[in-house]
């Protein structure tokens, strides 16, 4: 009797501890970002003394010509790297999702290599390579380096999408005398689209956020936004950094939210079938 009365208490208690811990954890995960964002709207010159609400640091940051140039550079690099890496990743995924063939394992390994190699190693290896072939450092060298590490990120969602795709529709297309390009254009591509968009979003985020590789392979004058933020941080805490960081944070979060919505929608659709 005593035992049965004890049991519910015993089960409930640890669950509450678990809940409290998890809530604390999410607080820990988001508090630093919240502090960063709140203080970006602070009027005071000293970043950690709150006076009143103001958007002046945003105005100040975005009228700064160096920051404008850094943003333009970041976007140029990210757009080119996203388009090229997504195209390459799509082509590779269309081959690699098919039944086993010789060279499949090694091909998969090479494509996931950029995920395994630590960024600092990629950075200095790429720098050595460009030095060895006497390739001038600048935006082009950053773009090439970005394409490389964006490929696996673009590849993953595309291959996942292909793996869950209904093959019979393509067979049906062939039976109706569509040629290969028509099957690809009217059947495969529309079905693959969510995967391609998701892949492109991941590639874009990874490129815009990259710091270490850009740091090593950027020549003078090819400053991207994270490189500029780093140079500002080295000079000390300032509300301007908070403002620029908040903007970069919002870009990443909206992109990843879009990615989440797209992949959830397609999941729902596959569940319906």
């Amino acid at each position: 009797m005593a035992k049965s009365m004890n049991t519910p208490k015993k089960t409930r208690n640890p669950i509450n501890w678990l809940k409290a811990w998890s809530h604390l954890f999410f607080l820990y995960l988001y508090a630093p970002i919240a502090v960063l964002i709140i203080y970006s709207f602070n009027d005071n010159r000293i970043a950690q003394v709150w006076t009143e609400f103001s958007t002046k640091w945003y105005v100040k940051a975005f009228t700064n010509e160096d920051i404008q140039r850094a943003i333009v550079n970041s976007l140029k690099v990210a757009f080119v790297a996203t388009i090229v890496s997504t195209l390459f990743a799509t082509m590779a995924a269309l081959v690699l999702f098919r039944p086993k063939f010789r060279g499949q394992v090694i091909s998969n390994a090479i494509i996931s290599l950029p995920l395994l190699v630590p960024e600092i190693a990629t950075a200095v290896a790429t720098l050595s390579f460009f030095a060895a072939i006497k390739f001038p450092l600048g935006l082009t060298s950053i773009i090439i380096a970005h394409i490389v590490f964006c490929i696996p990120f673009a590849f993953m969602p595309i291959r996942a999408r292909l793996a869950g795709m209904d093959q019979t529709l393509q067979e049906a297309g062939k039976d109706l005398y569509a040629n290969e390009w028509q099957v690809f254009y009217y059947v495969t591509l529309p079905m693959l689209k969510p995967g391609i968009i998701a892949g492109a979003i991941l590639a874009f985020i990874i490129s815009v956020d990259d710091f270490i590789i850009s740091l090593m392979v950027a020549g003078a004058g090819a400053t991207t936004l994270p490189l500029y933020i780093y140079s500002m941080i080295r000079l000390g805490v300032s509300p301007e950094i908070n403002a620029v960081s908040t903007v970069l944070f919002c870009i990443s979060v909206s992109a990843i939210a879009a990615y989440w919505l797209i992949s959830r929608q397609t999941e729902d659709k596959t569940h319906v079938h």
Partner: protein
Amino acid sequence: MAFNLPENPNTRRWLGLMPAILTIFFFMVIPITILGVFSFKPADPYGGVESGFSLEAWIQLFFERDLDDSLIFEPVYLQIILRSIILGLLATAASLLMGFPVAWYIVQQPTRQRDLLLFLVTIPFWTNLLIRAYAWILILGKDGMIEKPLYGLGLIDESLELMYGNLAIGVGLIYSYIPLMILPIYASLEKLDTSLIEAARDLYANRWTVIRRIVIPLCLPGIVAGCILVFVLSLGDFISPSVLGGGKRMMLSNLIQFQFSSARNWPFGGALTMLLLLMVAIGSWFYMRVSAKDGAVEH
């Protein structure tokens, strides 16, 4: 369409794979090989390497040259490597202790909430590491969010010096990589057969026994995978030590970066990078073995 795809399946595969594979091969596999070769060449004092063969970079890992050219054991670089490994291990252990209960909590929620919580765990992972490290300066730094209230209450009258040390680096490492601990643990907890837990409870096992004897052994692959991911990424981390460690307390990647910038000793930087890659390769090998086993259990 203007042209048709080639009939031969091998030619087609090659055409589709070529752009991605060749890009990664030319701009990653070859560069790493070149870097390995560089580590066996004499350093060019203006950056880069000179022609010839030299073991100087590898000798420099352990020894220093005296004035009369004799070698003296010099552990300064080994200490930096050791510090990276220790900080990496501590960050991994802390992430496991902090992350496991969170994964356990998420797995017990209804599906909709699970998705949302998992999404909340992944968001920071997709945001800039630099920004996340900088945010911690606002919290740990002089007059930061921790010190200010303590001053106000009169509990301290001088700075706690939380920044620019091993503590701040560790906090940065945990904060950066803990999502990669939670996600694999969550994945293996999700597959856990709950009837086993119920059976154990029917046999009067208490909650701790259930966790110790059933939950942990069954989701060991997820735990090991998470630990390897966090450790490998911490070992190669550049941002936490340079932003939160103030650049004074180096880790392996800061040392590497330093060789390619101010120190202009590319061969030594190359040797250090090869060492880092070796450690990562060992970690990845374990990771693949664990995930292969995990797959075998499923079948």
